[in-house]
């Protein structure tokens, strides 16, 4: 392993679960839980077996890297 990652990895090994949790919260995991929910209408097409094309406005695509937010697909 290279120097930087080796140091991070080794320091991480010495941290307790509680310490790591605090650092992860500082890094932002709570922000995800507390943020407001919103929804927009998206068009979903099924053009072949087992294949879904989800089309949303290009201007919105930056928001959709987490597919946990796509719900009620039928």
């Amino acid at each position: 392993m290279s120097d930087y990652f080796e140091r991070v990895y080794n320091k991480m090994k010495d941290l307790s679960d509680n310490q790591i949790e605090k650092m992860l919260i500082k890094a932002g995991i709570k922000n995800f839980e507390s943020r407001n929910e919103f929804s927009i209408e998206i068009k979903i097409e099924c053009d072949q077996k087992n294949s879904l094309n989800i089309n949303y406005p290009e201007s919105e695509r930056y928001s959709y890297y987490n597919d946990n937010y796509i719900k009620d697909v039928a």
Partner: protein, 169 residues
């Protein structure tokens, strides 16, 4: 070797008001949004003004925008385009997932959190990665993916030569 010694021109799209403040103060405002893909920092597109224009005008839908360019330089730069570095990042993420951490239950660990976790353990100046763009523009049989290189500057001392880019509309 994780760190690269590198410099480039970065382009940053923002509102007209924010741009005026940046130019006046000669410093950027650090983004503290946990949705930012590379964690907290100042974001730039590497050597591509059109990416910055598309981001601010289409993704953020800002009509009255400005583009600022700056020189970005550091020898503590983590480049995630390098497969070796990307694999290390995954290894750190895997180690986090192995821990018994209540706050992570039902939570999808995202790269921004892993990166800022690493940064708390040991600081670095800059991290950059490629992200796919315009998924719908690919043609059948063409496997070249439109990509953009995003740069997240954690240490703003690495930013210099800040100037507004004149746009011809």
């Amino acid at each position: 070797m994780v760190f690269k010694d590198y410099q480039c021109i970065g382009y940053h799209g923002t509102t007209k008001l924010a741009a005026e403040l940046i130019i006046k103060s000669n410093e950027f405002f650090v983004s503290d949004n946990s949705e930012d893909w590379l964690g907290k920092g100042v974001y730039f597109f590497e050597d591509d003004i059109n990416q910055a224009i598309n981001f601010i005008s289409k993704a953020r839908k800002v009509k009255d925008y400005k583009i600022i360019k700056a020189k970005i330089k550091s020898d503590r730069w983590i480049d995630l385009v390098k497969n070796e570095n990307y694999l290390y990042l995954l290894k750190i993420a895997d180690e986090i997932k192995k821990r018994n951490i209540p706050s992570l239950k039902g939570y999808k660990l995202v790269n921004a959190v892993v990166i800022d976790f690493m940064h708390q353990i040991e600081e670095f100046d800059i991290i950059s990665a490629t992200f796919e763009i315009e998924k719908s523009s690919r043609c059948s049989g063409m496997n070249i993916m439109p990509m953009q290189i995003q740069i997240c500057v954690k240490n703003t001392n690495c930013i210099s030569d800040i100037e507004e880019v004149g746009l011809v509309v």
